[in-house]
């Protein structure tokens, strides 16, 4: 299993993980309803910044968990738990994508009160998907290894480009 995935799953208790992910999802769904009902922009802005802050705190914890690494005395997470966690993240990703699309159609990405928070939420949404992919990949290390093997083979064939050549 990937080092990052082991660390994330070992350092997050299931209850805390659920609270963080489902909390963010609840906030996003609430916001989606507010956008649909054309709530006051100031109210929307407040909720977007709140969601942004929740996602920001979540990723601070994720990075802290990866940095801390997995505790040596703990058994690794089961493949079922890894898949379940990745599915939760994909669900959160879809909810955030939906809300961003809806907000964009409502012109909120051009509104100075909401645009900043919305762009930030969109960025965090990419992080959410990246984390889901990372967890899924932890169950298929051979896929990652074969990408690196192919890269190594290309390098051995001399099929390489220096950064200055591609810039």
């Amino acid at each position: 299993m990937s080092t990052a995935a082991i660390a994330v799953l070992s350092n997050f208790e299931r209850d805390r993980w659920n609270a963080d992910v489902y909390g963010a999802m609840a906030l996003a769904s609430q916001l989606s309803a507010l956008v649909k009902n054309r709530a006051l922009t100031i109210r929307l802005a407040y909720h977007f910044w709140r969601l942004n802050s929740v996602l920001g705190d979540f990723f601070v914890d994720i990075r802290r968990a990866i940095k801390a690494g997995a505790p040596k005395d703990q058994a690794p997470a089961t493949p079922e738990r890894v898949l379940e966690t990745a599915q939760d993240l994909r669900k959160l990703h879809r909810t955030l994508e939906h809300i961003y699309g809806r907000a964009k159609r409502a012109g909120l990405t051009n509104n100075s009160l909401t645009a900043g928070a919305l762009n930030s939420v969109c960025n965090y949404n990419e992080d959410v998907l990246e984390l889901a992919e990372l967890l899924e990949l932890s169950l298929k290390p051979e896929v990652v290894e074969s990408i690196y093997d192919r890269g190594r083979a290309e390098r051995e064939r001399g099929d390489i480009f220096d950064l200055s050549e591609v810039e």
Binding site: S2, T3, A4, I66, E126, E130, K140, R150, G151
Partner: protein
């Protein structure tokens, strides 16, 4: 930025080992490997597809 600190978790995540890492640029993923003084990019591709093309 990555060349300055390839292990910065704000910029990339470790994959199967700490020296094999993935970073994202917009909706693209960049897989690279850190080998002492060299940073080698092994693959670049759109999210969701880069791991499926094998």
């Amino acid at each position: 930025m990555i060349a300055k600190d390839p292990y910065d978790l704000h910029l990339s995540y470790p994959l199967t080992a700490t020296d094999k890492r993935s970073t994202r640029v917009g909706k693209f993923r960049v897989l690279f490997q850190v080998d002492s003084e060299t940073l080698t990019v092994s693959d670049v591709g759109p999210r969701g597809q880069i791991y499926r093309k094998l």
